[in-house]
Each structure stands twice: as C-alpha cells, then as structure tokens.
C-alpha cells in the first residue's frame, strides 16, 4: 500500500499535480491499512516495526506535496516561501521518523531521548517560521501590537493549560534524567508556540488561494499537538511504544499536511499583488478568539485545580491577572486604532468634498465663458444674426444651460454618495416651501401653457428649505414637462400620521407600472429620448429622492398609463424627536438602491 502511495505521490512531482480526491482516497486507504495492522497485527510480531516504518512514507508524501505546492505558487513570494519552509519542517520530521525506525527495526532498542529527537524538535521552529512568513508583512504599529498581544494571550492561556496538565506534574514528579525531562518539556512548549502562531494566522485574512490548505494545516497542527501531549506523557511514564495509538495520530497529522500540499492551487494573478494588503486586515473573529483562549484556559484550570495538589490558588490568580492585563491592553490598542481609522475616514471624506467643490468650479469656469459669449450673440447685443445663425446659437445656448444643470446635478449626486451633503433642517411652514418652488417653476409652466395649483394644509415640517425646494422644483418641473398644453399640475400637502405628505399630480402620459421604481435610478428616464427632447439631466428624480430620504422621508410614484402620474413624498413634522439636528447623507450603498 505504501508502494502505491509513493507512486501516486511521485506523480505530483510533474507539473500536473495529482487530484485532491485521488490523494484523499489513497491516504484514507493508507490510514485504514495502518490502523488495522496496529489492531490485528497481521504478521505476528511486526506491529511495532510496521508502525514505525509506515510513518516514513506518509512523512515523505507530505514533504513532497509541500515542495510541489511551493513550486506551484512560486509567483507569489510569500506563499512560495511559506510552502518551502513547511517542506523543510516536514523533511525534518521525515528524517526523525526514519532514524526512529532504524532504532526500532534495525537496532531493536528505543533510547529516550534519541538521535531522532533533534529532528523532531527542528520541526517546530521550521513550521513556526513558515506560519510567521505568511503573517508578518509590514504591519502598522497598532496591528503589530494587537498581533503580539493576541499571541501573548494565547501563549499564556495555552501555556497555563499545558503547565497544569502536563509540565507541572512532570516537573514535580521527577524520576527522569534531566535531558529526558528537557526534551519532553520541549515538545509541549513547541506546541504552545505553534498554536499561538496558527491562531495569529487564522485571525488574519489569508490569501484566498491559501484558505482551503490552511484549514487542513490547522487540522494537522491540532492533531500533532494532541499527539505530542500524549507522546510526552507516554515517554515520561514509559508507557509509549512504537505503533501505539499515538502513532496513528501522527499518521493522520502528516496525511493532513500531504492533503494540504495537494490542495494548494496556484494563486490568481491579482492575488499575488493584493495579498499583502489584505493580510493586514484582521478578521472580525480576531476580537473574540483571544478571549476564548482565556476562557478555555480558566475553565481547564478550574477543572484541574480541585484535584491538583501541586499548585496553590495563588498561581491561578496570577495567571488570571496576567491574562486580564493582556486583554485590557488589547482593548486599548483596538480602541485607539478605531479612533485613528475614523479620523482618517473623516479626512478622506473632507478631501472628496473639496475635490468635488474644485471640480464644480473648474467645470463652471469654461461654461461661464461659453454661456456668456453665446448669450451675447443670441441676444443680438453684438448685432443681429441671420436667422439660421440665430437658430444655431439658440441651440448652443440651450445645450450649454443643460450642461450647466448636468454639472450641478452630478455634483449633487456625488455629494450624496460621498455622504458629504450636509443638511441643516429647521422648522419651516409647508406653505412656504410650496410657494418658493412654484415661484421657481412658474415661468416654465407659463411658457408650456400649464397651470400650477396648490393646496397646502397648515403644517410645519423639519426641512432644509433650499434642498426640499430643489426636490419640489424637480418634481414640478417634470410634471410640467410631461403635461400637454392647457393641463393642470397640482401640488398638495396633507397630514399623514406623523408626516406631511407632499403630492405632485399631473395629467400627462403616465408611467408604465414596471417603470415606477426604475425612474428613480440615475439616467433612467421613462423614454430614452426624453433626455434629448425635454432637456432633463436624468438625475432630477434620484436627487429628489436622495434629498427626501436624507430627511428621513420616503418618495415614490403612482401612475396609471394615460391618466397621469402622482409623485409623493413624506417629511417628518417639526417637533418629532426621531430627527437628529443635523442629518448626513446616507452612504453610497443605500443611495444605489434608489
């Protein structure tokens, strides 16, 4: 079986790696053979030697898989070096197992510690280095502090558990040589560091390509830690023999490493560049996992404390104090980082606002010259123009005006999207808003032969008057544009629950039911030709809705085809406590739904 595995593994060396499924099947088969051999001792007396010997091929397979993975991901420096160091760690383990097998099978003796142990121990720093390679990029000081604190919390928590469960009893019981004790202490200590490093890696966003392999590596490391604790205990008490159940755990550990290597897909071209930046971000779990390690540590300690005669309560209290301080400092660092991020965000918002302001100015300056010179020509100030020329200039004037409106509307939409459109709502009479907006639209209505009517209840609303007038002007302007000559456009304001309901009704061609929401999107007039014929910017409705929603109101349209449309919106009545004194625009996502 190990032959087959080795052959299968050999295939991974070529550029086309073996499939993940094939590798899984091969490894499961291998584990089954291994376990059944341990249980049934197929060739009597071979249990121990086979147990030792079979560790070597599974180690080699894992080493090979890791090495192939490092070649496959070579274009990402970080991933490539990560897998290279994993391969080194696994190679050390392979040599250790090979040496151990020689002791058992050839020399028939099992010294402890033996020449195999330096190789076993080399596994820890090598794997630790691999894990750190993937984590530590150029971190900001806050992030570095948080990472260090997380690691320290986990080391203290995990260390306390290992100390109480394994090291402490071992150290106090004694009865072993100093070297043996040092070696058996080294394993669990290495495990604690490994656990800390692994937790730190898992707490960060790892490159997408590494996620699936990383899960398998986590399983492998956890299996290895469990096996190490049992192994250390077994060695000290002289109960460990090769081919033990513990060795099955090691077989599973290195099978998981091998699968992780096979599982590693080449990173996306994009990933190679962005991975570093992404890996800076802590996943939200980062905030509770260190606490969890504290809770686990304390839980275990409480459980052990009762039947453990070796430790006075004071050591437990000390550990709790250390953990509490670590957690407190982390909280402080996290809070400080949050405040800095918020300040940076505010700054960039301000920059965007300034940018929009400058863009507006820069666009309007040439428009002023164009509009001005065309206006003088069209007005005949510079002499009468021939009829055709006058018509052309009139077209140019109209479109320059439209361009000017477009600039204003786009800047408004952008300000809303950036959240930098600040409203200053005050209590204002609805009738005042109605009068002001009708005054603005009156000239256009007269020119179109449309009558404007209003019917306003005596209501006081909380509104930024300029902006609500802008919204009403957009609605009224639309109603006038789409009304036939001689028609009437009505603006009414009536109370509705705690709101004032504004309605603008026309008798135009109406809006198909399936377009009633779409017209509130940007540049989505009912008819594509409307923009051209009616001179609209395609932004009037989204702006109007954005303004109303920023006032905590709603805007919608009702219509029956051929019977005109009604645009309605609500505004909170003045004196409503739910409205903040200053309202900011909502963020982009919400506006995008508009």
């Amino acid at each position: 079986m190990s032959e087959r595995l080795r052959r299968t593994r050999g295939a991974a060396a070529v550029t086309q790696p073996i499939g993940y499924r094939q590798a899984t099947v091969a490894l499961i088969a291998f584990v089954l053979v291994y376990v059944s051999w341990q249980l049934f001792d197929w060739i009597p007396g071979s249990r121990e030697s086979v147990g030792d010997l079979l560790l070597v091929p599974v180690d080699s397979a894992a080493t090979l898989a890791a090495w192939c993975a490092s070649r496959r991901v070579a274009r990402s420096d970080r991933l490539g070096s990560f897998w290279r160091w994993i391969a080194f760690a696994l190679a050390a383990e392979t040599i250790g197992d090979a040496v151990q097998a020689i002791y058992d099978v050839v020399l028939h003796r099992s010294p402890y510690p033996s020449l195999a142990d330096p190789f076993y121990l080399a596994f820890y720093p090598l794997l630790l280095f691999a894990l750190l390679r993937i984590t530590v990029a150029a971190l900001s000081s806050d992030r570095r502090a948080k990472t260090t604190l997380d690691a320290a919390t986990i080391v203290v928590g995990g260390g306390a558990v290992v100390w109480y469960l394994v090291l402490g009893p071992t150290a106090l019981e004694g009865g072993q040589g100093v070297l043996a004790m040092a070696v058996s202490l080294a394993f669990p200590i290495g495990d604690v560091f490994l656990l800390a490093a692994l937790a730190v890696v898992l707490l960060r966003h790892s490159p997408v390509a590494l996620r699936a392999p990383l899960r398998l590596i986590t399983i492998a490391v956890v299996l290895g830690i469990v096996a190490d604790v049992l192994y250390g205990d077994g060695q000290l008490h002289g109960t460990y023999t090769s081919g033990d159940f513990i060795d099955t755990l090691y077989v599973l550990e290195f099978s998981a490493f091998a699968l992780a290597g096979v599982r590693q897909a080449p990173p996306d071209a994009e990933e190679v560049g962005v991975a570093t930046e992404r890996s800076q971000q802590l996943s939200p779990h980062a905030s509770w996992l260190p606490y969890l390690s504290v809770a686990i540590a304390l839980g275990v300690l409480l459980g052990v404390e009762r039947r453990n005669p070796f430790f006075p309560d004071v050591s437990l209290v000390l550990i709790v104090i250390v953990l509490a301080v670590l957690v407190a400092v982390r909280q402080y660092v996290a809070q400080r980082e949050l405040l800095r991020t918020q300040a940076a965000l505010r700054h960039s918002e301000q920059l965007k606002d300034e940018f929009l302001s400058v863009v507006g100015h820069e666009l309007r300056t040439p428009l002023t010259s164009i509009r001005g010179s065309l206006g003088l020509l069209a007005g005949g100030v510079l002499g009468e123009l021939p009829e055709d020329a006058a018509n052309m200039v009139a077209v140019a004037v109209l479109n320059t005006e439209r361009l000017g409106r477009l600039v204003n509307d786009i800047l408004d939409i952008e300000r809303m999207a950036a959240g930098s459109l600040v409203l200053e709502p005050v209590a204002v009479d609805a009738s005042e808003l109605v009068e002001q907006s009708i005054q603005v639209v009156q000239a256009t209505a007269d020119a179109a032969g449309v009558t404007l009517r209003s019917d306003t209840a005596a209501l006081t609303v909380l509104a930024d008057a300029d902006r609500i007038v802008q919204a009403l002007v957009n609605l009224l302007g639309n109603a006038v544009k789409f009304s036939p000559r001689g028609a009437v456009v009505t603006l009414t304001v009536s109370p509705q629950d705690d709101d004032a309901l504004f309605s603008v009704r026309d008798n135009g061609r109406g809006i198909p039911a399936d377009r009633l929401e779409a017209i509130f999107e940007r540049f989505r007039q009912v008819d594509a030709s409307d923009a051209r014929e009616k001179g609209g910017t395609g932004l009037g409705l989204p702006i109007a809705r954005g303004i109303v929603e920023q006032h905590n109101g709603h805007m919608w349209a009702e219509s029956r085809a051929g019977q005109g449309s009604t645009f309605r919106f609500t505004l909170p009545l003045a004196g409503e406590p739910r409205t903040p004194a200053r309202m900011r625009a909502r963020p982009l996502e919400q506006l995008a739904q508009v």
């Binding site: 507006g360 002023t368 010259s369 509009r371 001005g372 010179s373 003088l376 100030v381």
Partner: protein, 137 residues
C-alpha cells in the same frame, strides 16, 4: 453720467463678457481689473464707484479678502459689493452673504440677465432715497 462698477475677475473671458453685458445692456461704465490687488489700487485711484462685482476664486487675494481690504481701506458702505462665483453650494453662498456682500451671482450667468440681476441685488440692499443706480428692467 452712467453709474460705475468695478469688475474684478482673473478670467479675461469673464471680464470681457460681463463688461459687454453691463455696458451695452445695462448702461453701466465698467472698470475691469484682473486681481484683488489691482482692485484695491483702482478703488483708490479710479473711483468713485457705485458697485463692485467681485470674483471669489482668484489667485493671490481671493474675493473675500479683497472685500475685507476694500472696506478696511475706506470703501464707503453705500458702495455695494456683489460676488460672482462658480461655487454653487448653498453653504458657500451663505458664507459669502455673511461677509457683508449685497448678494451673490452664480456662474455661469446669462449675460442678457446680468445687468438686471445686479440692479435687483443692489436695489434690494440700498436705501431707495438718493440712489443713482439704474432701476431694474
């Protein structure tokens, strides 16, 4: 003698257009200058003026500081100052009015309507008795 306006704008185009508009349509006499510094000079040497039309964004001395300097150097309160600006944010306009300007005219402006706009703003902020400004038309 026609009323005199001091026109301050760094953009030559705008000076040309506004001058034509105000002189040919509004009957003003326009003294165009290209910067705040020149405006201070003209206010002392080229006066008296009936109004100042003042751009906001100018290199060197901007509109608001020009306004402050003009007043500090004794430009009489009855000489009204109107801002001309391509910044259309409501907050900007409010800030400009708060500086003591008689009004704000937004760019781009309609040159046919400019003289009327200017006259209306001046009218609204002036004591009608003794005014020698042209009536809005």
């Amino acid at each position: 003698m026609s009323p005199r306006v001091l026109l301050v704008d760094d953009a030559e185009d705008v000076r040309l257009i506004a001058q034509m508009s105000l002189e040919r349509i509004g009957g003003w006499t326009v003294v165009p200058v290209a910067s705040g510094e020149q405006a201070l000079q003209a206010a002392t040497d080229g006066g008296p003026f009936d109004a100042v039309l003042l751009d906001v964004m100018m290199p060197g001395m901007d509109g608001p500081s020009t306004l402050r300097q003009l007043r500090a150097r004794g430009l009489p309160a009855e000489v009204k100052i109107v801002f001309l600006t391509a910044k259309a944010q409501a907050a900007d306009l409010q800030r400009l009015r708060a500086l003591g300007a008689a009004g704000v005219i937004a760019k781009p402006f309609d040159p046919l309507a400019l003289p009327r706009q200017l006259a209306e703003l001046l009218e609204a902020s002036t004591d009608p008795a003794g005014s020698r400004l042209p009536a809005p038309r």
